[in-house]
């Protein structure tokens, strides 16, 4: 005995599309990039968990209150927030196909972004100079890994930004480059979100502990 499935109109039910059809170019790129960002988020979640467990183990060494300089962190935060809005301006200019001003805002974003790892290196240099090296205590180990990983991400973001500017310079704002600008935008803002977490959990809570 067989059963024939039909629609209300009596047509055969089509469970899948037999006709060849095209998907829009880069249609799944953003979803894929969101998945990448979530996997990166897991890395940072792990590092935050490590810091949460080990952040109070000073081994009779320096504590956050002895080491951290909140005004310096405020400058870092300001630079990163400023680079977020300048990247937003670059996106808006790109949507209007203005290549020159897109490149200009991307360059400003890169310069502001470069301030961030610069200040992180400056902070690391001073801490190491004062003997607060990663092997001094579990707190310092977890601090250097967490903040260092974030600064490395920003550094790679800047390298990506420069590469993208070269690509836009060579080929213009073609659809492929527009998708790349969108992906880097997500990456850049994602790093902003992570920094807000680092600023709160490591610096602010560390100073107030």
């Amino acid at each position: 005995m067989s059963t024939k499935v039909q629609t209300v109109d009596g047509d055969a039910v089509a469970f899948y599309d037999l006709d060849p059809h095209e998907h829009p170019a880069h249609g799944s790129t953003m979803l894929g990039f969101w998945l990448y960002l979530m996997s990166d988020c897991l890395i940072f979640a792990t590092l935050f968990a490590i810091y949460g467990v080990l952040g109070g183990n000073f081994a009779a060494g320096p504590s956050p209150a002895d080491l951290f300089n909140l005004p310096l962190v405020a400058v870092s935060t300001g630079a990163l927030l400023l680079s977020s809005i300048t990247y937003g301006f670059a996106m808006l200019e790109m949507e209007q196909n203005k290549q020159g001003s897109t490149q200009l805002w991307l360059a400003i974003t890169g310069v502001l972004g470069a301030v961030f790892p610069g200040l992180t290196l400056y902070e690391f240099y001073h801490m190491i100079h004062e003997g607060a090296v990663p092997q001094r205590s579990a707190f310092l180990s977890s601090f250097f890994v967490l903040v260092g990983t974030h600064a490395l991400h920003v550094t790679f973001g800047i390298i990506w930004l420069v590469t993208l500017m070269v690509q836009i310079g060579q080929r213009g704002l073609v659809p492929a480059n527009q998708v790349r600008v969108q992906c880097l935008s997500m990456f850049w803002h994602f790093l902003d979100v992570i920094w807000i977490g680092v600023f709160t959990v490591v610096y602010l809570m560390g100073m107030l502990r």
Partner: protein
């Protein structure tokens, strides 16, 4: 997604509609991010104590992260399915972390109670 070909009676707004969230929205969000960041510093300066301190710090952090994700990362204009796919797993992770923290506290309590009794 920005280039979705999904047919729908009321298509979800996409990146293509981004002309509708002009420069003013970006600036407003950016100013709010600064205000919230200053708020985080004020928690330290005003010397809030106890639950109020930690609650304010965490609330300000979540507000800032939420603004960036929803506006700068365009989550607000994404399809609901994608928003859920992205946002639900981190929330679940937080729940699991809370469960693990409870379990860890319980394990520590039992060790303190039973393993230290002989010393």
């Amino acid at each position: 997604m920005s280039h979705s070909a999904t047919a729908s009676a009321t298509p979800a707004p996409s990146h293509d509609d981004s002309q509708q969230h002009p420069i003013r929205l970006y600036l407003v969000v950016w100013v709010w991010l600064f205000i919230l960041s200053v708020g985080s510093y004020m928690v330290d300066i005003l010397q809030f104590r106890g639950l109020l301190r930690w609650g304010l710090i965490l609330a300000l952090m979540l507000l800032k992260a939420g603004l960036i994700v929803s506006i700068f990362m365009h989550m607000r204009w994404e399809r609901l399915a994608l928003s859920y796919a992205i946002l639900v797993p981190p929330v679940l992770i937080l729940v699991f972390v809370a469960l693990m923290a409870l379990e860890a506290n319980y394990t520590q309590l039992t060790r303190v109670l039973f393993l230290n009794s002989g010393t």
